[in-house]
């Protein structure tokens, strides 16, 4: 499109430079074929992403299995009480547990006059708290 009139005085040294460069040019095959054989660099993400996924999946599976196993092995609260104290009422077990707890220095903060007025569950009329 835009062809300039040849400036021979400048074109000549460029032609000399080109000739010198061509003589020293590395062969095409040595530059093209190594990359064609697959010297391409593998992005670290191609290795890291699947590895992280596998580790995350294994951790999730281990967690899931652990949770299910502990849930299956855990005894029902009622069964534990019954096994620990056969023949006792819930109130008796509760008072026994309460008595075995060592008082702490700040326990008095939990003492409220109204708590002393709470009636024992077993002494309540049968209609209270029952459907």
């Amino acid at each position: 499109m835009t062809s300039e009139p040849r400036d021979e005085t400048l074109a000549r040294p460029f032609a000399e430079l080109r000739r010198a460069d061509v003589e020293n040019a590395p062969p095409f095959d040595s530059m093209w074929r190594p990359s064609a054989r697959g010297t391409r660099r593998v992005s670290p993400w191609w290795v890291a992403a699947p590895a992280v996924s596998v580790v995350a999946a294994a951790a999730a599976l281990a967690l899931w299995v652990g949770l299910h196993r502990s849930a299956a092995e855990a005894p029902a609260p009622g069964a534990a009480v019954a096994a620990a104290a056969p023949g006792l009422t819930t109130a008796q077990v509760a008072s026994g547990v309460r008595g075995s707890i060592e008082p702490l220095p700040l326990d008095f903060l939990l003492d409220q006059p109204s708590l002393a007025a709470i009636p024992d569950f077993d002494s309540l009329p049968r209609s209270v708290g029952r459907p």
Binding site: T2, P13, E23, P26
Partner: protein, 174 residues
Amino acid sequence: MEGEHLARELASLHAASWGWALACCGRDPSAAADALQQAYSKVLEGKARFGGQAALKTWFFSVIRLTAMEQRRSIVRWLRRAPDREQPADEAPASSSGKPDRGLERAEAAARLSRALARLAPRQREVLHLVFYEELSIADAATIMGVSIGSARQHYDRGKKNLRDLLGDDLRTS
């Protein structure tokens, strides 16, 4: 364009591509080899695709130019080093045609031009190389350089004037 066909086309352009890679890398042969190989890799890996909008040579020269820029961050860095660097032409054997004086003369002329080009502004050096060395039109040079034709023409005119001043007597005596 199919792989085999593209490879053949690029092989036919290899000498010109090598010259352009040298120009883009401040005439450092190892940097130019790296840039050219990277450019070939981009083509092979499909990172650079020839769409057919421009001539293959114009397109591939753009790839080389961008690759060299990515690789070296700045052509200017190489330009500043170029005058102190021994030119490959200086190391070339005197001549393969049995005329040692003529061969030496050529090598010296090439080295002088190389040093003069290194003192030009990068854009001026690029456009002069593309027009005189690669024998492309200013329009093609503008496409490769990613500038308008008007801008390329300005760089061309200023570059020619500056190069003449730098070469001075060498041009008159050659």
